[in-house]
Symmetry: D2
Subunit: 288 residues, 4 copies
């Protein structure tokens, strides 16, 4: 299990998400509050879009903990981005801490990250890989369930390099989860799988909050939407905004103590931020 | 603040100290129990003597956390040593996580490590360095109070490369603390300094438990002595032994739940393990 | 292309192979002489057996260059081993420099490394993986042709965990190469593949010098055998010995300038060092 | 000895300096042409200004070689900067490869880097440090001559945090060299010292080409000035411009084969790029 956040809106300084809030993502790397184990010290990654340059996002990952990485601290003070992914990792038991296993994963214009785990992954890895196109088969660099799930997602898209509507993107993500569930049933895996995924092409962002066993609670997921997320004199706040929001954060945990700024994404739902910054929270139907 | 351990005795497998016990040092890197903050994830180091080769100890350090370092895990299963230092670091605020700041520090046949901090160190660093011989002045590679304290210790020895009696070693360590205290008073530093040091030349081991303000509690320190420290079928124990022990562990925290195996080093005391493996716990007189 | 060496014999100090000779492996990491490109700076690895502890070898790898790694320098001065693998890497174009891609690779008691490349590997990876048992399928951590070739080799063995005769080991290695060649033909790959492999179970060592196109020269491979390999006062030499040698080095390049100490392994041959330290150089028949 | 470059002008994509040109700085990290030893693989660093955010530059450094660092490769494709420093290091003998020893060094708004070495540095380090203010004394993190020279430079400025005229900056740099030379004479150091320094506050850039022994040649230094430095379809060029240039590169080696684009900075000279992008090459008087 891990912690992550996604931002989409008017350009935000990375530090305002990663280091300045009371419960910033870096704080969550050693003192997460919404999971039983507070530590997410097995490396980290950030990915962000610079649409003024090209549609391929930038990626910065490391196997050292987020809290002590000087390069991250420096970059956070200088990177302004309209769409940003960040992830602090708690490696599942037996999973290697290695650069190739750091989230977010990137392919062309896509970013992907995962908070959760695919139960019995070693028993479906083979079946999963068989389903991939040759190019996605060779794309996978590491051994995580998360990166393989990303390959399955890309495999659902007719043209991963082309433009996508939010609809098609949502459909591909739901199909990915349904496919993973089907392989799990085939392999007779009884343990629950946790699928909090986040994905973007730089235009649309979608994140899910889901566990495939109704008796279990999925990992936590919150969001905050408004006119602007701002840190001033040590205080970070989401300034209120109109219907078409200008700043949306989707995050494993609230970044601040201002309770009214944060809403829960309900279990079994997905949250979608459209290119126009509309926020839709809908039931994740068709995933089982 | 950090966690450390020293072993001296018949050769022990590194894994029996670092990975196998319930409260192994690697466990303490993410779940220390005897300090308010459980996390010691800012790098680690191990040093061990191979007297069959030469008197200079081997050193292995890294800025990644001990719990995820594959090289450490592999080495721990293969290194047998009669004298071993190991340290997991929680960097003091403002201190850089860098290889040069990892404990233990090594100079010739000496190993040194520190759990604690020298209050107001930036205000005495200059005075401290002035006192050093040219060669020790240039020896210091990093910026920690701990490495500088090591240089002060080496500076007390007439011939750091020569053989030392336990008496001279103890005297040099007490003088080091007294000297640090004197510089602190000169600089009018009021905050308490914590000096849990461990030092060895491969023959004698000495560790201190001390804070220079009587109103404060020093960091925890325990020891265990017996015939042999052994891990079998998932259970680690210190087997009881006679007066001249064959295995002594000095450790920030007990490595096992077997309470009778562990004794406290009292506040304001030092523990000395002689080349003949005699264990002496004595008051740290003359340090103030 | 890379550089590697294997040692088998009476315990040798790692530094006598890695740092002390004129053309030590660390020297070869920045100034190799027997390949057109002198640089092998994309990480390194060492593996060695400690049979007094258990049959599983120790592994130490890093993505930093061998020449500047302090931990390697320290370990080399203290590790004595009767069987040792060491490798400095020049990553093939497009291959990631990552810990999971560092040689030697280890599985149970086996060590494996590769100097060369499998042409068109992305076009046979899928076919190759399909052939693996489930457990070997999940064993592979990285993306190199070399680690996959190791999995193919282990897949040839009836019982990888059991004891092997040199004969069976040789047969498995020849079959591995034959299998890789067959897949290459199937995929219509015309470029030459270079298979200088080294493998050991700690008892027998086998290394090959081979390219699958008779018009090409395989990567260089030398060996030296004698009573003892010794470095004294800056001079390293293989002391002459009797028929049953006590020290054998197999190496991409001679470690010293003493020409009579080094023999070429002919193209298309393999060299085998038996548990009794007999050295056999034989034609690699049946590999095509 | 190392290789470095500085850019000042209209915002340039980092990749156009670091990865795309025939003789890009990353190429120089393994195949430098203007020094006898082609390898600069002991880590690297880049620093750049983002004046739209604040005057403090961003810093990204690593001890892995520039040629294999994925984070650098990703950042280079996304960072646009009006002023950029980049450095690939060949550590002087005995100098540690460590993050704290990577160039460029940064302090407040200042960036500093060095290609060269201060002869007999261990014999003047003490005298040098004594001259520093307390705050600069504690600023130094590593052990390089280069970082210490930076501290000496900052020590010459009345108000390092305040705005500087190019004149004052040039004066401080000349005084720094004169001071280092004076300490060298005091310590009776006879070997030549090489001082190719580059420094900037984000407004003015100054770089020197100097060795303190007239019988020796200083390290190479070139510059190119024009309207814009551009890479198109694999070809990089400095487009010609008017007197007030819009793009200036100062670099240890020409980045391209277009000879007319590059001019030599003569030995014993400094090159200054003013806030208005005027380029002045003047004799380094008063440094001896």
């Amino acid at each position: 299990m891990c912690r992550f956040l996604v931002y989409k809106g008017c350009p935000v300084l990375m530090a305002d998400l990663l280091t300045r809030p009371n419960h910033s993502l870096i704080k969550q790397s050693y003192a997460a509050e919404w999971r039983s184990e507070p530590l997410n010290g097995d490396g980290f990654g950030v990915g962000w879009y610079a649409p003024e340059i090209d549609p391929v996002p930038c990626l910065f990952t490391s196997i050292t903990p987020a809290w002590s990485n000087q390069n991250l601290r420096h970059l956070a003070e200088k990177v302004l981005a309209p769409c940003l992914f960040a992830h602090v990792r708690a490696a599942s038991s037996g999973m290697l801490v290695s650069e190739v296993n750091c989230h977010p994963f990137q392919c062309g214009r896509w970013l992907w990250m995962h908070n959760g785990l695919i139960a019995g992954f070693n028993r479906i890895r083979r079946r999963l890989r068989e389903s991939l196109t040759d190019s996605l088969y060779n794309f996978v660099q590491g051994t995580t369930d998360s990166e393989h799930a990303f390959a399955v997602f890309l495999n659902q898209l007719e043209d991963p390099a082309g433009a996508q509507t939010p609809d098609r993107l949502r459909r591909a993500l739901v199909d990915t989860i349904a496919q993973l569930n089907a392989w799990g049933r085939e392999a007779d895996i009884r343990e629950p799988s946790y699928y909090n995924f986040a994905v973007s092409d730089g235009e649309t962002v979608i994140a899910t909050r889901y566990v495939n066993d109704p008796a279990c609670r999925p990992a936590s997921l919150f969001f905050s939407a408004g006119a602007k997320f701002e840190c001033r004199e040590g205080m970070c706040r989401m300034l209120p905004g109109a219907r078409h929001e200008h700043a949306v954060i989707v995050s494993s945990e609230p970044l601040t103590d201002v309770e009214e700024d944060w809403q829960v994404v309900p279990a079994g739902h997905l949250i979608e931020v459209t290119p126009e910054l509309e926020v839709n929270v809908t039931a994740l139907d068709g995933a089982t």
